[in-house]
């Protein structure tokens, strides 16, 4: 079964899902926050980190 053959990528899907939700969604509080990543595009950051690890993964094959 393909699910068994590709555990790293299956896990990747879940991580992508997390990036979509945890970094991409939820209420963004700005203004009064003391330490803030409010101004940071977290999805961009997250996807870049993931993509670089995906290409590293591919290269390792």
């Amino acid at each position: 079964m393909s699910v068994v053959e590709r555990p790293p990528l299956e896990q990747q899907v879940t991580l992508v899902e997390l990036v979509d939700r945890v970094l991409g969604k939820g209420v963004v509080i700005t203004g009064d926050i003391t330490l803030s990543v409010a101004g940071v595009d977290l999805v961009y950051v997250g996807l870049r980190v993931l993509l670089s690890s995906v290409s590293a993964l591919e290269a390792a094959r």
Partner: protein
């Protein structure tokens, strides 16, 4: 030195479910922030900028953020905050709640008894196009057209397939929406990230009543209707309502 990481907002007096990291409530009036202590050596602004680029760090903390909020799903309504809301003092956490009281109260009321489900649709584009072509070929044979006309209709078929895919994604979302309280579509994730051969054509999130199977039933029906043409559907969840606490606070 430590700071206060706010995962989400619940009603004051809510029970705190077991969680992978220690969290507690910081209350202010009718509201409470779900708060965990974090080291500013790790979550201070400079450290955070560095750590966000560390895949393992990001993954571990994104998972923790989700796990803390997940523990509330189906138990207590929670408004998820986006990753990385950190305060220096509990007083600042209370002030954050106080200044946004109306928004949080309204959102909590809307989320009560409801959970988020994710639905993705995938397509095996080659199989889909083959199926469309097969259908087309039967018509061709019946019409008895020549080579050039056939070639032309092949080219038209590729464009037709793209239109059909877009239409299929839209129609699926409409049907899922009809089985939910609310719904949104997010950008489809690219193959580089999903690692799948099939192409994602729908990345939807739906707000549904707890213990209501209508959405999942509709996903099963869609799978059955479209499976033969190379389209598959996949439901995930329940999730904390990340996609349904979407009012962003304007900077003041």
């Amino acid at each position: 030195m430590s700071g206060f990481y706010v995962y989400g907002v619940v009603a004051a007096g809510s029970a705190v479910p077991a969680s992978p990291v220690a969290v507690r409530l910081v209350e202010c009036g009718s509201l409470a922030a779900v708060v965990g202590d974090v080291s500013l050596e790790e979550f201070g602004e400079d450290a955070l900028a560095r750590n966000l680029n560390d895949r393992e760090w990001l993954e571990a903390h994104a998972r923790t953020h989700d796990a803390v909020l997940h523990a509330f799903v189906g138990v207590t309504p929670v408004v998820p905050l986006r990753f990385g809301a950190i305060y220096r003092t509990e007083d600042e956490v209370r002030r954050m709640l106080e200044t946004r009281r109306e928004f949080f109260e309204t959102t909590l009321a809307q989320l009560r008894g409801r959970v988020e489900m994710g639905v993705k649709a995938w397509i095996d584009r080659a199989a889909f196009q083959r199926q469309l072509a097969r259908r087309g070929a039967a018509e061709e044979a019946a019409s008895g057209r020549g080579y050039l006309e056939r070639r032309q209709s092949e080219l038209a078929a590729a464009g037709e397939a793209s239109r059909r895919v877009a239409e299929l994604a839209r129609a699926s979302h409409e049907r899922l929406l009809a089985a939910a309280v609310d719904g949104v579509t997010n950008r489809a994730q690219p193959r580089e990230l999903t690692g799948r051969l099939d192409e994602m054509i729908l990345n939807g999130a739906y707000l549904v009543p707890e213990d209501d199977s209508r959405l999942v039933d509709e996903v099963a029906r869609l799978s059955e209707e479209w499976g033969r043409l190379g389209v598959s559907f996949e439901a995930t969840g329940p999730w904390p309502p990340y996609n349904f606490a979407r009012i962003e606070e304007p900077a003041r």
